[in-house]
Symmetry: C2
Subunit: 180 residues, 2 copies
């Protein structure tokens, strides 16, 4: 696993991939699939939308930390499996054969086999909107995953993987933060 | 232009595309490129992150409406052009040859040539986070655009278009809202 500078962590979320969010309730870890995420600034601050209907929400709200792991397209069916059962009834790590890797700054684990990971502290939960504000504390890249296409959920039960890539760095230079 | 039921509008934003957001300041329209967006629920409520540093923000904040237009990959360089100049100095409609189409419920225009459009009211601006909460009022699809691949910004000056598509509707059925 390689360290990713925190100032580049927003590049993991900005493309809009489906992500896995792991939590720990003090007794055991859990993991959920989320596609409602947003970058808030270049300093690794993110918003995710989730709420009390979600079993992971109590752990997020009580323990105030999580890990966002970014799966590649090779994990699509695992990601769907994680997203369609509840940690209330299921040990998802056992059921889906997930590898829980130790994080450096938080209690919830990184999910092995993902492309990248952002360890986060819960900064605030915005009442009435179910928006959770996260501050990234550390980020990691796993260069060993061969299928590096992100997965995008359409929301109707279909998904799209990354396709053609376009380099427009020269045009975008003035808008990019230092070091990106 | 076809009407898209509002209950399906979240499927335009959930995949995480770069979008164009048009505003109108009472005198003239403007348009910005945004990739920091998030679905809030299935009823066409969305969050976008922008703030006072952005010329469009005053119009959003004062006039309380906008249109989110979803460009396809064929518009990539127009989208980058719109995102790298300011409406403070530039009439972007003239500069980029944009077609401003009349919206049905709001003053800002739809951007011609895009795949789809969501007319929105500004419901709330969350102080301290630069998060703008939008309520969709009407949604439209333009079936005449041939390249229907969404564009995803990585944030480092590179972009990805949609690639392989996966149908997992059977597995996802229990998680999808009625009619999607």
């Amino acid at each position: 696993m390689e360290t990713l500078p925190l100032g580049r962590a927003f590049t993991l979320i900005e493309p809009g991939p489906v992500v896995l969010v792991s939590t720990h309730d003090g007794k055991r870890p859990n993991v959920m699939t989320i596609s409602w995420t947003m970058v808030l600034d270049f300093s690794a601050r993110f918003a995710i939308t989730t709420g009390p209907w979600n079993h992971s929400f109590a752990a997020l709200s009580d323990q105030r930390d999580c890990v966002i792991s970014i799966p590649g397209a090779g994990m699509l069916d695992t990601v769907i499996g994680i997203g369609t059962c509840s940690g209330r009834k299921t040990d998802k790590f056992a059921r889906f054969g997930l590898r829980a890797l130790r994080a450096s700054k938080v209690t919830p684990p990184l999910i092995g086999g993902c492309l990248a990971h952002i360890e986060c502290r819960v900064e605030e939960i915005i009442a009435g909107h179910d928006i959770v504000i996260l501050q990234g504390l550390a980020a990691h890249l796993d260069p060993g995953v061969s299928d590096r296409r992100l997965i995008h959920a359409v929301g109707d039960g279909t998904f799209t993987a990354d396709g053609e890539h376009f380099d427009r760095r020269a045009l975008m230079r003035a808008k990019l933060p230092e070091g990106v």
